[in-house]
């Protein structure tokens, strides 16, 4: 027994050393992409399709397009289990790149992680990218040069949610006197929309009621009984993980129509509605990352990656799931940013400082979206020194019991209204930390 164990250990060691994996070996002419993953732990069900989407897209770029203008992408995973301390460790491990291949950016994939790395990223000059999350005030790039809450920050999510509800009611002026309850996960993530909701309520005259759900949210009878008493016109659901299906089921039990519940970005995946069963039919959610396989990029991936057996997905039924598409979108944004940077710095791997320049000058217009096969999957995205978010639009998708169906076109957030709030918060941060904001007008 012991002998067998020893032999097998030695054998596996030898095997491991012999064959060099094609992706793990980086060279100085390749672009290194660090990946802080969570394939195990409480959030693994979102993590696994997410990184499959990212890796599939990078493989597609490497193998079909021959890299980004000839620069191959290499990556390494680092398991975090969505723990902040492990994310910090992974960041420190991977920030310097690998075998000469530099790191141009770091996807935090975690709002608490973005908070923890905020100052480290600025000191090390590594852009921290957190699509659809992150610290809202870091939208103001003059104070936060190295943080990008790209695509859609939390304020925009609140604003798009309200705009969608207004659309259903027949106009923003119809919101007056309506009751809108926000049921939120009681965490940094859930509380982040309180300030914009307050502002929106003041402007449009609806009644803003906030009801917290403590983590993890397995039991929500008390909250929904309260919602029932209020008899709201709309419910904005800002839960995460297990608290979403529980909320949908409990709402149904208390007789609240699921058609009047609008989930936010992180409460709108298959994992959120399938456990809720038939109660979720008719539930709608914001989708800056829509689900489905009807997009051009999915045809390409199917042909070159999925059907060739090169996908990172163990079960190809997940192909086109919301979280898979989140991975695709994140990967595509990264690749487009690298292209933007290469236009200025030449076709070579970029470092963190060049990565920041690249992200700040990222401009994915409708034509470009069509060319890369993301039409309908991603809204046009344009970043600048003072706007690190860029997008701020989402579609709304509805669950028909089998799959997500897109029911609207892109709905934009009210940036004029929200911007002063963001600037006030970033100015407070700059004051607390003694940061002199960059002059974005001069950099242009």
């Amino acid at each position: 027994m012991r002998k067998t164990l020893q032999y097998s250990l030695v054998a596996s060691l030898v095997l491991g050393l012999q064959a060099s994996p094609p992706e793990a070996w980086a060279a100085d002419d390749a672009q290194f992409i660090p990946m802080a993953t969570y394939r195990v732990g409480a959030y693994a069900s979102s993590g696994i399709p997410w990184w499959a989407g990212e890796i599939d897209y990078f493989r597609y770029i490497n193998e079909v397009e021959g890299g980004v203008n000839g620069v191959k992408l290499v990556w390494q995973e680092c398991e975090t289990e969505w723990n902040v301390d492990r994310i910090v460790e992974c960041y420190e491990r991977l920030k310097t790149g690998q075998d000469g291949a530099p790191t141009a950016f770091f996807f935090t994939h975690s709002t608490p992680g973005s908070y923890a790395l905020m100052e480290k990223g600025a000191a090390d000059r590594i852009p921290l990218i957190d699509g659809g999350g992150g610290r809202t005030e870091s939208t103001d790039g003059s104070v936060f040069p190295y943080a990008f809450p790209i695509l859609m920050n939390y304020y925009s999510q609140a604003s798009v949610g309200i705009n969608y509800i207004a659309g259903r009611e027949g106009g923003l002026d119809k919101l007056k006197g309506k009751k809108i309850v926000t049921v939120y996960h009681d965490s940094a993530y859930g509380r982040e929309t309180q300030a914009p909701m307050k502002l929106l309520a003041e402007k449009y005259g609806f009644e803003n009621i906030q009801i917290p759900v403590a983590d993890p949210g397995n039991e929500q009878s008390a909250q929904w009984r309260q919602v029932r008493q209020i008899k709201p016109d709309w419910v904005f659901l800002r839960t995460w993980g297990v608290s979403t299906p529980v909320a949908i089921k409990t709402a149904a039990r208390f007789g609240i129509s699921v058609e009047r519940i609008v989930g936010d970005v992180w409460a709108g995946s298959e994992a959120d509605v399938i456990p809720a069963g038939s109660a979720a039919k008719g539930y709608q959610a914001l989708a800056p990352f829509p689900g489905g396989t009807a997009f051009e990029i999915h045809q390409r991936l199917k042909q070159y990656i999925i059907d060739q057996g090169k996908s990172d997905l163990k079960d190809t039924r997940y192909f086109g799931e919301v979280y898979y598409n989140i991975g695709l979108i994140n990967a595509a944004i990264a690749v487009e940013a690298l292209r933007t940077g290469q236009k200025k710095f030449g076709n070579r791997p970029l470092n963190g400082e060049e990565g920041r320049w690249a992200f700040e000058h990222l401009d994915i217009d409708a034509a470009r979206l069509k060319a890369i096969g993301f039409e309908g999957l991603l809204a046009p995205l344009k970043l600048s020194c003072s706007d690190h978010e860029g997008g701020g639009a989402a579609r709304v998708q509805q669950w028909d019991g089998q799959q997500w169906v897109l029911v609207t076109d892109w709905i934009r957030a009210d940036h004029q209204l929200l911007r002063p709030l963001i600037e006030a918060k970033s100015a407070a941060y700059a004051k607390e930390k003694g940061i002199t904001p960059r002059n974005c007008a001069a950099e242009r």
Binding site: T96, A116, D124, D215
Partner: protein, 354 residues
């Protein structure tokens, strides 16, 4: 006759006055010199930031819990709650008392944590064992709730997160990895030295008497309740300082979520695996609990990265880690430090049999 008037025989006369012969602990001095003198210049950012700082802070937290659980015998699963008190109190002090130097803020944070620990230690005079453990569990959840519920503690920031204020000492910035490492190292060394002396003192002996049998301790005149509460306070002081360092020297930010029940378990595992009732055991245990998963992750990437499915590789690491914990605990229930001691004894008499 000028013969000696000593009634004692020569042998007794020459007997050592001290029970423990003191000699200079060379290995320890070399270790300290390396830690202070060599590592800051040798270690890169990764080693200082991601390996050494969390290792030292967790060792300190383990030390705090060990004083309570390993030396006084009061089981606690609320360690992270007291760490949270330390972190939030230090933050409050730095924010609201202008010009307060960092060491004083750390000390203040520790003292506030100690006061809270004292409060939650009061039930220990009436209840014991598992029941006391449940009260510490309540402390854990209560403290976590307090730091979520009341925005004053996190200065009304919408996210409920506190971020590291200025880390400076006498005008010298400690924001660099080396600065933070030296801050953590000095604190840990100082507090470890205090702890070593504390457990050797009257207080420590009383604690151990209570641990071994509190009725007997009461019979010989030890004020059991008072010493139990003292143990809670001292333990919480250590945990509070560790919590503040965890938040500001390692992560850079903290919220109540950084000090959840899992952190409490992590610290409990550190002392169980390292060795209860041992100072050095905390360091060994912290190394095992915090560094081994990182090592396994690195080794896994290096050996199998790209061949084996990444998800399976991560799960495999968890299995190996769990199996190692079980193996070590079966092999030596008294912890890794005992295992190392046995090994040392064996080496001393080598090649003879132990």
């Amino acid at each position: 006759m000028t013969a000696t008037s000593h009634p004692l025989s020569a042998a007794v006369d020459n007997a050592p006055v001290e029970l423990v012969a003191r000699h200079l602990p060379w290995p320890l001095l070399v270790l300290l010199a390396t830690a202070f003198g060599v590592l800051p210049w040798l270690g890169n950012d990764y080693w200082l930031n991601a390996i050494l700082i969390p290792f030292l802070v967790l060792s300190l937290a383990g030390l705090g819990l060990n004083l309570l659980t390993g030396y006084t015998g009061q089981t606690s699963v609320g360690a992270a709650g007291f760490m949270a008190v330390g972190a939030f109190a230090t933050y409050s002090l730095l924010l609201r008392v202008p010009g307060l130097p960092l060491p004083l803020a750390l000390l203040g944070g520790g003292l506030i944590a100690a006061a809270v620990g004292f409060l939650f230690g009061i039930p220990s005079s009436r209840i014991k064992g598992f029941y006391l453990m449940v009260t510490t569990l309540a402390a854990q959840f209560f403290l976590e709730w307090v730091f979520t519920k009341f925005p004053w503690f996190y200065n009304y920031s919408s996210s409920g997160t506190i971020s590291a204020p200025r880390l400076e000492l006498f005008g010298y910035s400690l924001a660099s990895p080396v600065g933070r490492y030296l801050l953590v190292l000095s604190t840990v060394v100082l507090l470890t030295w205090v702890a070593v002396n504390l457990v050797r003192s009257q207080v420590g002996r009383n604690w151990m008497a209570i641990r071994d049998m509190d009725t007997a301790a009461a019979v010989i005149g030890i004020p059991v309740d008072r010493y139990k509460r003292l143990a809670f306070a001292v333990s919480s002081f250590y945990l509070g300082v560790a919590g503040a360092l965890w938040a500001f020297a390692y992560l850079g930010t903290a919220s109540a979520g950084s000090f959840d029940i899992n952190r409490s378990f992590q610290i409990l595992f550190i002392i169980i695996i390292g060795g209860m009732g041992s100072i050095a055991g905390n360091f060994v245990g912290a190394a095992f609990i915090s560094l081994l998963p990182i090592f396994l992750n690195q080794a896994g990437q290096w050996l199998f990265g790209g061949h084996v499915d990444a998800g399976q590789l991560q799960n495999l690491q968890k299995i190996i880690f769990g199996a190692l914990i079980i193996t070590f605990l079966i092999k030596e229930p008294e912890g890794l430090i005992r295992l190392l001691d046995n090994l040392r004894e064996r080496l001393r008499v080598w090649p003879l049999r132990f």
